[in-house]
Structures are given as structure tokens and as C-alpha cells.
Symmetry: C2
Subunit: 135 residues, 2 copies
DNA sequence: TAATAAATAGGAGCAATTACGATTAATTTA
DNA sequence: TAAATTAATCGTAATTGCTCCTATTTATTA
């Protein structure tokens, strides 16, 4: 039994796609992906629902890369790698916790702030973009 | 004796301001700040020189927040805190190194990538934006 | 000084995102 | 069920941060 959620058909479709997508998609990609099966979908609806999901805490923004904002419906604490060539984003499995609660309180004291969350992004070249395609 | 650098007067002014600025400025802020003393400065020149500096490795981008890219001429490895209310950015003094070389090679193996750099950003509320202004 | 190269101004153009009025769908109330 | 109310969406216009382009100016070289 799970919480009742009155999502409209389109909202539901957008959310499901975000959850299943492994590419940390852009709003544009969500729109293009759903357009074939939902021909009367509008781009504004995608943007608006992404905002709704973010406010609900269902998704988060990874950042803006190559001019487009990237989203992630995996709300577990993890880091990302982004290829500066093709802008592919990979999850960094955090078996190792890079940043823990001790660091939070350390930074909070040093900076006199309250920390809500953090992001770690590794930049580099993915194996597809390396000359030697050993993927 | 230091390396000869043939910067134009405007380029020099932009770079000096970036170095002295403690607010991790936007291009717009640089433009507005220099405009009074350099009335014929154009916004395009600020953007172009920021690109030049970035390619030269003199500055780096912290990211895009509230729709505007933020820059930092402090090239030492350090993290940032950003207030989600007022978008003030603070340096996190890294007496503690959060991410070291071991983590790089760990992630490189896990993700099959080559890492060039990384960014850590803490999000939260600064003391000015907290109800209790204990700053 | 003349020829060449680099940097800039100013404005047009672009692309991602947001805002808005009109319409449609869903929900509640009677 | 029907009417009234609320929420969601469409389509398009507007915004905005940034980039690009051309003419002009400034600096460098011969």
C-alpha cells in the first residue's frame, strides 16, 4: 500500500520516464521521448512538471551542462561523472562515502551556515571519447 | 621577474577584478563594476575575455546558479558553499581534503573513465538568510 | 610609414527556459 | 447526475543569459 498520488496521465508519464531513464535527461529529451506516444504533449508541460517534481522532492537537478539542465530521479546520495566531450553523465556508485556528516558540521562551523545537501561532480573523458575505444 | 603577458588594458582590468573579487562573480557583475571607470567597455568583451582566461587556466567556472554562471580566479583546490536563498557563494577552506587521489583512481576504475577535475558544492542557507541574523 | 594582426563595440541572433491567456480535464459540491 | 470549482495543459509570446558577426579601433611588425 503506497501513498495516493493523483497524477494526471501526462504527469505520470513524465515521472515514470524520469525514473526509468538512466541518462540523467534534459527536459528536451523527455519531451522528444514522449512525443511519439503523447502527440499533444507540450514542452511547457514537461518543464512545469519537472518543477513540480523538484518541489515535491521526487527529482533533483544535477546541474546545467552544455546549456541544458540535467535531472535525476534517483534521490539516493551519490555522485556523478560528466564527460566534458560528449556530456554523458554517469553515476558514481558510492560504496565509499566521500562526504559524511562530520564534514557537514565542520563546514557549517567554518562558514557559519546551515547545509542542506551537497553535490560532487567529477569531470573528465569517458571511455567512448577516449581515442582508444576500449569500452 | 615574471612571465611577460601582453594583456590589453581592458583585458588586464577584467582579470585584476576577477582576482580581487571575493564574491565569485558573474560576467554581468564584472561588466557593471568596470563600466564606471571604463565607459566604453562592452559586455561581449567581458564574456570573450572570461573565455580566454578559462582556456588559459587562469579562472574556472563554479557552475550556473540562478541562471548565471559564476567564476573563480582562485585556482587552488577548494570547495564552495552556495546559499539557495541569496545565491551567495562562500569558499570552503579545505584544511580537510574531501577528495584525494585514491578516490580519483577508485572512480576511474569503477566508471572506466579518465578524471581531470572535480567540484564539491554544499547547498544550504547562509547566516544572513537565516531568521536569526547571528552573523 | 604602411601592412598586418589582434581586440573591441555594439547590436543582432540564439536557445533554453519561463510566463501567460485560453482551453480542456478533473474534482468537488449540491 | 449536473453545475461549479479547481487543476492541468496547450500554444505561443516574452525573457534572458550568452554567443556571434561586422565594422572599427588599437597594437604589432616590416
Amino acid at each position: 500500500m503506497h501513498a495516493k498520488r493523483n497524477f494526471s496521465a501526462k504527469r505520470e508519464a513524465i515521472y515514470k520516464l524520469l525514473v526509468s531513464a538512466k541518462n540523467h535527461p534534459t527536459a528536451e529529451w523527455v519531451y522528444e521521448s514522449l512525443k511519439p506516444e503523447i502527440p499533444d504533449l507540450s514542452l511547457g508541460t514537461v518543464y512545469r512538471n519537472i518543477s513540480v517534481f523538484r518541489e515535491m522532492g521526487l527529482i533533483k537537478s544535477i546541474g546545467i551542462f552544455n546549456g541544458q539542465e540535467r535531472f535525476d530521479a534517483d534521490m539516493s546520495q551519490h555522485s556523478h561523472f560528466i564527460c566534458t566531450e560528449c556530456f554523458k553523465i554517469l553515476d558514481v556508485p558510492s560504496g565509499k562515502k566521500f562526504v559524511d556528516g562530520n564534514i557537514y558540521s565542520f563546514v557549517e562551523k567554518e562558514c557559519n551556515v546551515t547545509i542542506k545537501s551537497h553535490n560532487i561532480i567529477f569531470y573528465g573523458i569517458c571511455c567512448m571519447c577516449n581515442n582508444s575505444h576500449k569500452c
